[in-house]
């Protein structure tokens, strides 16, 4: 399968990339890891006039923890980099849990977290993780930089709020106040298949008391579902069986799955409930063991 014809530029500076996107007037598309875009070009679901390949831009491969503890993931940081970063497990357990579950090992060598969030596939893992952790996209355009919370960035299936002349240069995950906890679970029929359902939970706790809770769902709606409202049942107390059950019920109610060859809507809702319970029970066990 061949994509339809397109122009191709591989700029060496960010300003140049933005200039090319401006000139493209919305007909130019950014190519980063390409693991979603290239299949879409081949199937001719996408046929941009111009590809602006950002793989040769300097300074975008970073995976950096700032002095304040926040994590910055550059537009060219591959999934495999996140998977190998053992130091993330403590401060960012949700990211550490999700990284090995993204696509398959070969795709992880090439695909990027920032690209996955921009692609805004309702089945994408990273948007759920980013929403659960309250992360923001940093976008750069001709008139400078702006920060957009990922919850506002994803505007629908395969849609984001970037202007055509903006580049998402990095995603910033804020540092947890207190101790970070959480996890990511995904059901897939085989490695690399789209998610049947996935759940991301990001918690902050002070001792055994939960001080912040975020939650988002993968693959059970027309877009990534922000289920943080359901997670509020956890805030202000310990992770008791009752609070866990309320959060799981809330998440299952927030899911808007459609039945398909991966399972019925009821089944997917059940998976969401089970995954929320599993993630939170594991955190509760860890807290108990640490006490």
């Amino acid at each position: 399968m061949y994509p339809s014809r397109f122009g191709y530029e591989s700029p060496r500076a960010l300003d140049e990339a933005i200039e090319l996107l401006s000139r493209g007037q919305g007909e130019a598309k950014i190519l980063a890891g390409g693991q979603s875009l290239i299949p879409m070009l081949k199937l001719r679901f996408a046929s941009p006039e111009m590809l602006v390949d950002i793989n040769n831009l300097p300074g975008l491969s970073h995976l950096t923890v700032d002095p304040d503890g926040s994590l910055r993931v550059g537009a060219l940081c591959r999934h495999a980099q996140l998977e190998r970063a053992a130091a993330l497990a403590g401060p960012f357990p949700t990211i550490a849990a999700a990284a090995p579950l993204v696509a398959d090992p070969i795709v992880r060598n090439r695909g990027t977290l920032v690209g996955s969030i921009c692609h805004a596939d309702p089945q994408g893992d990273w948007a759920a993780v980013a929403i659960a952790l309250g992360a923001s996209v940093v976008a750069q355009g001709p008139s400078g930089r702006r920060r957009i919370p990922v919850a506002d960035f994803v505007s629908g299936p395969f849609q984001n709020v970037l202007a055509y002349d903006e580049v998402a240069v990095e995603v910033v995950f804020p540092a947890a106040a207190g101790t970070a906890a959480g996890g990511y679970l995904k059901l897939e029929r085989r490695v690399g298949d789209f998610a049947t359902a996935g759940v991301a939970v990001g918690l902050e706790r002070s001792g055994a008391v939960v001080t912040r809770a975020g939650m988002a769902l993968t693959g059970v709606g027309g877009a990534t579902i922000d289920a943080s409202e359901a997670a509020q049942a956890l805030v202000g107390g310990e992770l008791t069986a009752d609070r866990i059950a309320r959060a799981a019920d809330g998440a299952a109610a927030a899911a808007k799955p459609r039945g398909d060859h991966r399972g019925s809507a009821a089944y997917k809702r059940h998976i969401v409930h089970t995954f929320v319970t599993r993630i939170l029970t594991r955190v509760a066990d860890d807290v108990e063991r640490a006490a």
Binding site: Y2, P3, R5, Y8, Q35, I38, D53, P105, I106
Partner: protein, 181 residues
């Protein structure tokens, strides 16, 4: 007009965009002209005639077209040839030395790691990259590393055995020469 028929020359804006790229393929620098939409898999197979790289699904699912880009496995059907400019590509043809097979190839032969052989080039390249990074993988680590390469014949048992065989062979060879100390 001198005849009843004359073809109008192609307009300038219809011209095919062409890029010149230099790629080191199996240690040899190759400079080629390609249209940007040409996939790396097609450049390797049709352009460079290295047909050991197989295209299976052509939809980024099966891993048969896996090649090493700067030592790391990538799906060559999901990358543009122009993107390989300035990089090193290793295909299955680059695995063996002048006279001897790569230990991974020997392993697949010895442990019967293939039946139809279609997935084998991709399997072997992913296995090579794994062993370069982790010379002593557990069975679980081998299965994890190969989880993006699909095989429809073997049930994977002998593929995993082949990779473990190659790991052992490589470690033994490294021990003999004193390398890795």
């Amino acid at each position: 007009m001198t005849s009843l028929f004359e073809e109008v020359p192609r307009a300038e804006d219809d011209a095919v965009p062409v890029r010149t790229v230099s790629v080191t393929v199996n240690g040899e620098r190759r400079t080629v002209k390609v249209e940007p939409r040409l996939l790396l898999a097609h450049m390797i197979r049709h352009g460079l005639k290295l047909t050991g790289t197989h295209t299976g699904c052509d939809t980024s699912n099966c891993g048969a077209c896996t090649v090493l880009l700067d030592g790391r496995p990538v799906k060559s059907c999901t990358m543009l040839a122009v993107q390989a400019d300035g990089h090193e590509v290793t295909t299955v043809e680059g695995l063996a030395g002048q006279s001897e097979l790569h230990p991974v190839q020997e392993g697949f032969k010895d442990e019967h790691g293939l039946q139809c052989g279609f997935c084998t080039p991709g399997m072997m390249l992913t296995a090579k990259a794994l062993l370069d990074e982790n010379p002593d993988p557990t069975e679980d680590e081998v299965r994890w590393a190969l989880s993006g390469n699909l095989c429809r014949c073997t049930g994977y048992q002998n593929i995993v055995k082949s990779v473990l065989w190659a790991a052992k062979k490589q470690r033994a060879a490294a021990g003999e020469t004193g390398a890795g100390e």
